[in-house]
């Protein structure tokens, strides 16, 4: 029954995709010559005016262009013409760097907050104020102090990825069942061993959930950050192709941003599954 449900769902997905692509194709196809124009004038006007063709590329155009990108993802023809693979690589590297820095800060700090009611109360006002700040609001300050646009982008990723991890770690650590702590206490388990063998595995599912939310936010923010700082990255690619008026490339970029985001999310989901224990 389950397999048949899955099969039917897959079929439905394919159908929805087909309807979407079909509608897209019909909406953007040309309707033939609309007016008899001087050929030279028509050339100046372009296909939109002469054939009634939409300025929006159709699925076939996008597919063809995508195939080009897939064939040579890593070409480098100077600052404004790099392969999609290179641009994605820059973005992923920035996200991972900022994200790992955030992990290194958020998890130990979250442990501290979760284990110490004093620190929890003392740090609470700071977290409450800093958390709702849009990560991009930090950008000018980062550019001014760091004076390097690439590192500033990494800082922005760091500052946006830290909060969900910090709060989830603190919550997970504080919510470890009292009886497990009591078991450790009656067995005279030291603080370090208790942190690693009791609290960490008990809080791991909550911590990983926070990490999963963080990577999602980091990937959302990198596109915007790279549009601002420019130079390299998938966000810069989108903005550059908009300046080139290449809607085809913009659509392709949107598609791969979604794809990479999904892969990052699934990796963390898989990791969460590994540390989740059935009660």
């Amino acid at each position: 029954m389950t397999s048949s449900l899955r099969a039917r769902a897959a079929l439905m997905s394919v159908l929805i995709l087909a309807v979407f692509l079909g509608t897209w194709h019909l909406a953007t196809r040309g309707s033939g010559s609309v007016a008899n124009l001087n050929p030279e004038y028509a050339k100046l006007l372009g296909a939109t005016a002469t054939q009634g063709k939409s300025a929006m590329p159709g699925p076939a155009d996008v597919g063809a262009k995508l195939w080009e990108h897939i064939k040579s993802p890593f070409y480098d023809n100077g600052p404004n013409d790099k392969g999609l693979g290179i641009q994605l690589g820059y973005s992923i590297a920035r996200v991972l760097l900022g994200y790992l820095l955030a992990v290194a800060v958020a998890i130990p700090l979250g442990f501290l907050i979760g284990m110490s009611p004093l620190m929890s109360k003392a740090l609470d006002p700071f977290i409450q104020i800093l958390k709702p700040i849009s990560p991009l609001a930090w950008m000018p300050l980062a550019l001014y102090t760091i004076k390097d646009s690439s590192i500033s982008a990494i800082f922005v990723i760091f500052i946006c990825a830290i909060w969900p991890m910090l709060l989830n770690t603190a919550f997970g650590v504080a919510a470890v069942r009292k009886e497990w702590i009591n078991v450790a206490r009656t067995l005279e388990v030291g603080t370090v061993r208790r942190a690693f063998t009791v609290i960490l595995p008990a809080a791991a599912p909550t911590i990983l959930t926070g990490m999963r939310i963080s990577i999602g936010i980091a990937w959302l923010v990198i596109v915007a950050a790279e549009m601002l700082v420019g130079g390299t990255g998938i966000g810069y690619f989108v903005w550059n192709e908009w300046n080139n008026l290449s809607i085809t490339n913009v659509i392709i970029a949107i598609f791969v941003i979604g794809l990479v985001g999904m892969i990052l999310d699934q990796l963390l989901a898989q990791a969460t599954r590994l540390v989740t224990f059935p009660e």
């Binding site: 069942r177 009886e179 497990w180 009591n182 078991v183 206490r185 009656t186 067995l187 005279e188 388990v189 063998t197 009791v198 595995p201 008990a202 791991a204 540390v275 224990f277 059935p278 009660e279």
Partner: protein
């Protein structure tokens, strides 16, 4: 005085009450047990039995008084005092072996992995879980989980085993089997055990001494009831013993009525001289002397401290 293995001396537990002042769960509580004895505290909810056990475990601190175990005042928790928790408290991310080995490693951190495993294995076998070493708690039934809890507690060879209503969450059939196991293990290993229960039959079957506590707040230890049943008692013919029903009735009477009124009934109650009650067979009664009512209880008010 010298052979008192556990001696609870004048402990009190108070909590700040609403609107200032303090509420005492119990005050000036004295209780002692000998080595190898099985003691059961029985009383209604809220009389502070769990607090007594937690203080004995070191998980809680008395507002006043001390607890002496094996000649030493206790300070905090200790590997000498193992606790079997009501809700088994196993680590769900560890296997049966992992849970028991965790305790063994805590007691003997320098042991090699093989030695820890072999030691843990011995106790897993003892509670009858051989073959389930690699299962996780989620794959075990309630009774099996509690067995792992018992194996974990015993594996560190504690001086005292403390049990907080260990079987209350189990079904009657499983509870019976586990009581048999605990009784067998405690007799075999001469384990000093202190248990909390509100199950009269459980106390009768397992305990050597039954401590009756009155209702809280302001609970007191009303009586120490010495179990008159033979040490090699068996569940199947327990109720045929002539003292079984007098004992059971005595406890039930206490729980139903005397636990509420004890403090007013006995105004000159001395917490250091808790009456030790030994039930004896009633004198044979001649049928014609209708006035003499057989009394089962002969309270000998010996000083317990």
């Amino acid at each position: 005085m010298t052979d008192k293995f556990i001696s609870i001396e004048a402990i009190a537990k108070r909590y700040p009450a609403k609107g200032g002042g303090e509420t005492a769960v119990f005050e000036n509580l004295w209780l002692s047990m000998n080595r190898g004895e099985f003691g059961c505290i029985i009383g209604h909810s809220g009389c502070g039995k769990t607090t007594v056990l937690n203080i004995l475990a070191g998980l809680d601190e008395p507002s006043e008084g001390t607890v002496i175990v094996d000649g030493q005042a206790i300070e905090g928790t200790s590997l000498d005092r193992a606790v079997i928790f009501q809700g088994h408290a196993l680590f769900p991310w560890r296997t049966v072996m992992g849970n028991v080995a965790f305790a063994v490693k805590s007691k003997w951190p320098k042991w090699s992995a093989e030695r820890i495993k072999a030691h843990a294995q011995k106790f897993i076998q003892l509670v009858g879980l051989g073959g389930s070493e690699h299962k996780r708690p989620a794959e075990l039934s309630g009774g099996m989980k509690q067995r792992v809890g018992i194996a974990r507690a015993l594996s560190i060879t504690p001086k005292i085993m403390l049990m907080d209503e260990p079987f209350s969450a189990l079904d009657a059939l499983t509870r019976g089997t586990l009581q048999d196991e605990v009784r067998r293990i405690c007799l075999e290993t001469d384990q000093t055990t202190f248990m909390i229960t509100h199950d009269v039959d459980e106390a009768i079957y397992l305990a050597d001494k039954i401590f009756l506590m009155t209702n809280g707040p302001g609970a007191v230890l009303a009586e120490i009831l010495e179990n008159p049943l033979p040490r090699d008692r068996a569940r199947i013919d327990l109720h045929r013993h002539p003292l079984y029903y007098p004992l059971r009735n005595h406890i039930v009477d206490f729980l139903v009525s005397r636990s509420k009124t004890f403090t007013t009934d006995v105004p000159d109650y001395d917490p250091r001289k808790v009456p030790v009650v030994k039930l004896a067979l009633p004198e044979p009664v001649i049928a014609t002397s209708a006035k003499s009512v057989p009394s089962a209880a002969t309270a000998s008010t010996q000083a317990s401290a």
